[in-house]
Symmetry: C2
Subunit: 820 residues, 2 copies
Amino acid sequence: GFSLCEVCAVHCQRFLMSRVGEDWIFLILLGLVMALVSFVMDFCIALLLQAQKWMYGGLDSNVILQYLAWVTYPVVLISFSAGFTHIVAPQAAGSGIPEMKTILRGVVLKEYLTLKTFVAKVVGLTCALGSGLPLGKEGPFVHIASLCAALLCKFMSFFGGIYENESRNIEMLAAACAVGVGCCFAAPIGGVLFSIEVTSTFFAVRNYWRGFFAATFSAFIFRVLAVWNRDEETITALFKTRFRLDFPFDLQELPAFAVIGIASGFGGALFVYLNRLIVQFMRKQKTINKFLMKKRLLYPALVTLLISTLSFPPGFGQFMAGQLTQKETLVSFFDNRTWTKQGMTEDFNYDSHSAAWKHPQANVFVILVIFIVMKFWMSALATTLPVPCGAFMPVFVIGAAFGRLVGESMAAWFPEGINTDGIIYPIVPGGYAVVGAAALSGAVTHTVSTAVIVFELTGQISHILPIMIAVILANAVAQSLQPSIYDSIIRIKKLPYLPELGWGHHEKYNIRVEDIMVRDVRYITLNSTYRDLHEILLIGNLKTVALVESAESMILLGSIERAQLQALLTQHLSRERRLEFIRDRADAERKRVSVVSTPSSEEGGQKVNHEVRFQISTEESSFTPARPISPKPLKPALKRTSTAEKNIEIPTSPHDSGIGLKNLLCARPQTDAMEEDPDAEDDMTLGEIEEWEEQQLDEQVNFNSWKIDPAPFQLVERTSLHKTHTIFSLLGLDHAYVTSIGRLIGVVSLRELRKAIEGSMTVKGVKVRPPLASFRDSGTSGTSSESEATELHKLWDRHTSISIPREHQPNTSDSDEKSQ
Amino acid sequence: GFSLCEVCAVHCQRFLMSRVGEDWIFLILLGLVMALVSFVMDFCIALLLQAQKWMYGGLDSNVILQYLAWVTYPVVLISFSAGFTHIVAPQAAGSGIPEMKTILRGVVLKEYLTLKTFVAKVVGLTCALGSGLPLGKEGPFVHIASLCAALLCKFMSFFGGIYENESRNIEMLAAACAVGVGCCFAAPIGGVLFSIEVTSTFFAVRNYWRGFFAATFSAFIFRVLAVWNRDEETITALFKTRFRLDFPFDLQELPAFAVIGIASGFGGALFVYLNRLIVQFMRKQKTINKFLMKKRLLYPALVTLLISTLSFPPGFGQFMAGQLTQKETLVSFFDNRTWTKQGMTEDFNYDSHSAAWKHPQANVFVILVIFIVMKFWMSALATTLPVPCGAFMPVFVIGAAFGRLVGESMAAWFPEGINTDGIIYPIVPGGYAVVGAAALSGAVTHTVSTAVIVFELTGQISHILPIMIAVILANAVAQSLQPSIYDSIIRIKKLPYLPELGWGHHEKYNIRVEDIMVRDVRYITLNSTYRDLHEILLIGNLKTVALVESAESMILLGSIERAQLQALLTQHLSRERRLEFIRDRADAERKRVSVVSTPSSEEGGQKVNHEVRFQISTEESSFTPARPISPKPLKPALKRTSTAEKNIEIPTSPHDSGIGLKNLLCARPQTDAMEEDPDAEDDMTLGEIEEWEEQQLDEQVNFNSWKIDPAPFQLVERTSLHKTHTIFSLLGLDHAYVTSIGRLIGVVSLRELRKAIEGSMTVKGVKVRPPLASFRDSGTSGTSSESEATELHKLWDRHTSISIPREHQPNTSDSDEKSQ
């Protein structure tokens, strides 16, 4: 027994090592942490919600007091959530899925994966959900899981170096997204699929496995915690349904399910549109906006006040089951008894949840319609609040309500069921609610995996075909009308994400890379001086700089990271090197002096004093107005500036920045060197230092200490836009160099590509339209025109005749775009 | 009502046009066709199986007759299936998933997607499954669906041109795989996921949507047909289970589920190993092999005889429920009552299926163990037969049996259930059977989506966590021991598939493209003559040929498809051009003749005769021994040969192949030209034609009619193996050119890459180890060693000093590999 276990353990480990790499510990840890976080948060949210109920129940003697308590509580919670998020980490507001989509695309979003953001997201989300507003948690959970993964990566990199690899980290984040959804709904399979659909364009199947592993573990622990906590007897679904298995639905009910699907499609598109409309309206209204900007917490507080006032149970809330929480609402919708006439008299008062839908004056149908309409705009409004919140769950509830409405109508229409073969199978409105929930959430998020999530949430798969049909129809309609809620947010937030290339528009995009590339590439050559490096660092904006053989040949040899260049320049102008220079000079001097006498010893001492004073002054630059040269102007160019000092002009001539550069970059190594080497005398005057630096800058760069990527991604200038898009998406590129027979002629970054795809405006107004543009449309990408003669001789002649495609005009439109 | 419908229809269509492209009709048609095929096949299989039962039941008076009937029937069916498959399309034998995996990778496998193969697969599979042998249908169904898709593509390309695009067709095939699995099990979601896991490495999420669409439609129609056929009352799962929902399992049962998972892992690995062992054994045994080769149908017949003898119900079959079909066996395994003591007395005789497990002499446990052991080797053996068959279903049944065994043991062990909180929840052995089925099939196929398939097959998702845990553990164990059954078949069949790069072995693969590339690239230059084209066509084996600027500069300008070159050469040596030449010459002659007299009119007539005879002789080459020049030797090089004429030597000198080449290639255009232009006199002698052709071959190629890909995929010589693998996998490349600063220095094809990944043998024994190999390991791919100096100056010098990296040694190892 034990030896077998050992063998198994060895095998499991060997497998995990080979298949999941060293990451299986990581994935288990991630699952564990997320399950705990999810459990604790759920517990806190339940407590908060219960507190409101308790307050509301305790004050039932006085309606005004009751109202005040009912309203104040969510206002305080939401205001706290918004304030806390704003102060600790503003990045934590909102869903998180759009940002993760962007990050998984390979774009680095600053501050999105830090401990601060984690704290803000967890605390903010707990408060927001505890307020009882129609908000969801699946988006924030994806973000929280990714934060966990990022922090775990950092933590584990203390023990081993493998977690420093960027592409590996992105794979971890992909698994984390699955874990996030998985342990939010206790739905591992649906979680994996949903996260794939929502975040990826191309998906590596190996990540799928990791996602399953981590999400299952996480969901398992999450549910086990519930069992241990005596919430549940055993592991079951979150919203368990009890529909009959033998005859779940009749074939003739399918049209009704299809109607739910199509209507949900329209509803989903409307929701996305409404959500975007609210955001844009709030942005445009300058006067309101200014006022709200000053009082940041006013907008959330006002919205919360409005929503909670309308759902006050003794008030309007009685017509929309205002006293029920989201969870209770869902449970009542998925109930497998009908609410309409035949069943109502007997067992409608079975539990308190369903009782909320019974009103003395109003019909069940009227209440459901009011619920749907009110919750619809409330959810669309609430999800624009600057608190951590998602839109999935509110939409899911609305969808369930709509499904229930259709189901109840069907049940009222066919009280005996549709089947006429003898046995009476009454219609199950709960099944319609499940279908509606899957369809509407699928329509809003543009996913089909909501179907799987629904199966896992309800623990029943009997309605698989109606659900699949409704979800597909809903997607069909919604996708033709609006982007998904996540893509909508990406557009609103202007995140650097590459849009999808439309289907069947291959012909429209007969654009080549040469039409959209930036021809004004920053590069360095094998003969570059340090001054060139300095200039490059001042201007460019890409992560890497191209290295070409010479300005004449322009043959691309590789690319160097910007950070490398900075380090190189820093090191070249370092104090150590200067002290070495001084020592060398002193040696040479001594040799000369040994021949002649020593006249200027006193002057040397003075020099040292002067220099020491200067050094202090540069390190505390803002306190010494007498500084001869300001180091400030260089800071923005070198991107090492603090946010407080942004409004500074760029230096007009690079000449007056030598010392500043040195001072700025070398502050730390300089002092280190002084501590290490206190005997070395730094007896250079300011002028001398400047002169030395100028001299150093004119030296040729030494290549031996460079870390060069010898194979940066290259495209040929005639690569089609479609191919470029595919390659960028597949490989997650940030930019690619465009070469023509080995010569660097341009660079394409995500930005150009995005512009070219979104509107052909930019492409049509291309500055340098190459002479062979008319020949270009006859490419070889599958269209079968016979006249596809690519006149290579001409092409070749053109390239040899172009000497250097270097255009050093400062293009203002670029910098304009950047500031967005 | 109607106008709303119209609006919906318009939107649906608009969406479908934009999202699925023009393919939605295609996908619906595909789903419909596959559902029909699946339904009809199922019907036929059921008939065949029933016929056997009927025969067996009718002859119960005489055991010997009964045995003969029982045994002869499957032997005849399997022999027919094997024979039919062999005669019509040998490609139809086996599963089909390995081949589809290879095809989706971008490799063109000949004859795999033809109508013949379709017929052979459908007929062969029906007979094979009708025989009652432990064979599955999910693999063949994937192949059948792909065949349907390919044929539909062809069919629809009559109406519009969009179905000729190769990449689009591959996307269609990906959707078709999902449809295949989906309508085989009526499991759309599981089908999509299974097909993704089994066939893809990288997956485009947009295909996911198509797969869902087509698979859902297909599964829907498939099930609706069953309802219309009165097999079912409404749409439900294929193997519906009725486990209790309120308390599906106790937490303390989880270790038992984990044991099932781990044991299934070992079992799955053993199955794959056994399967491969049998194939290799049959191959190695030369004497047996020779005998069997002669009598192709003997092996299938013998295997069938053995298996059906052992499962003869009155014989040994009584100890392994031999009379049950696969479907009946599964139904009995998934039964929610226990077979052990407490329930057996009362309702064990409820239906005939479960009765098969009751034996007067033997225990239920003994019978289950015998069943598992016998079916295990029988399935492994049966799946090696050369008939269309899969391994999924047999393995699924064995897994279910194993799960049932564990479940029954648990039920015997804890007759009152494990939970001690008051209510007695007896253990459900059927749940264990479901878990076992998912785990073992997951282990054999290396997939986790078997879990989803199981949910959809049984219509219950209550055991989700046990199933997920067992499947993951089974995968963990199996993947550490053996490849999946499909990868195993890929290796056995030596299909051109790129193996996965192991995880966590990035360091091991510090190999660069330059180490594995073929340096002896075939290329043509801008100054190439037609003779060069001819030579290129004789030697190379890649789909495209590189075009470089000149042999000196080697600068890569693009690539041309081999077929293009062939067409170009054909056209250049065409009869039309020769006739034109004759006309021109005649004109010139006439001018000369107008001055002099005409002496040789009779000789001209003779020439014509001679030429016409020659033309006939070349077209019917095998019947004219007096032919002066044989056109045969060229055929293999031009790949237009029939399979019968393979063993022919390559011509030693290209000189004697001029006319042959022309005759071979131009046979059709020539006759066309003659019909069109009957007046033109072809009065050249054989020698003159040869001379003319030689002259034509020496002409420089005219570039105007070329169809060139200006941006073939390029890699830099220092690209790491890992990066190369990723790019090849992602983009589905067949080969990529290796360039160094624009110069073509090599080419890497799938073959080199596969070799490099599979064994580092080839890589270590690389012929031309570049001088900077030691510097190479210090790349920039994320490892953080500080000494990563890439000595670019040296690199650059090296490249300029290499004049032409052209090595025209015939490498025999290559051609050796090719002949496999």
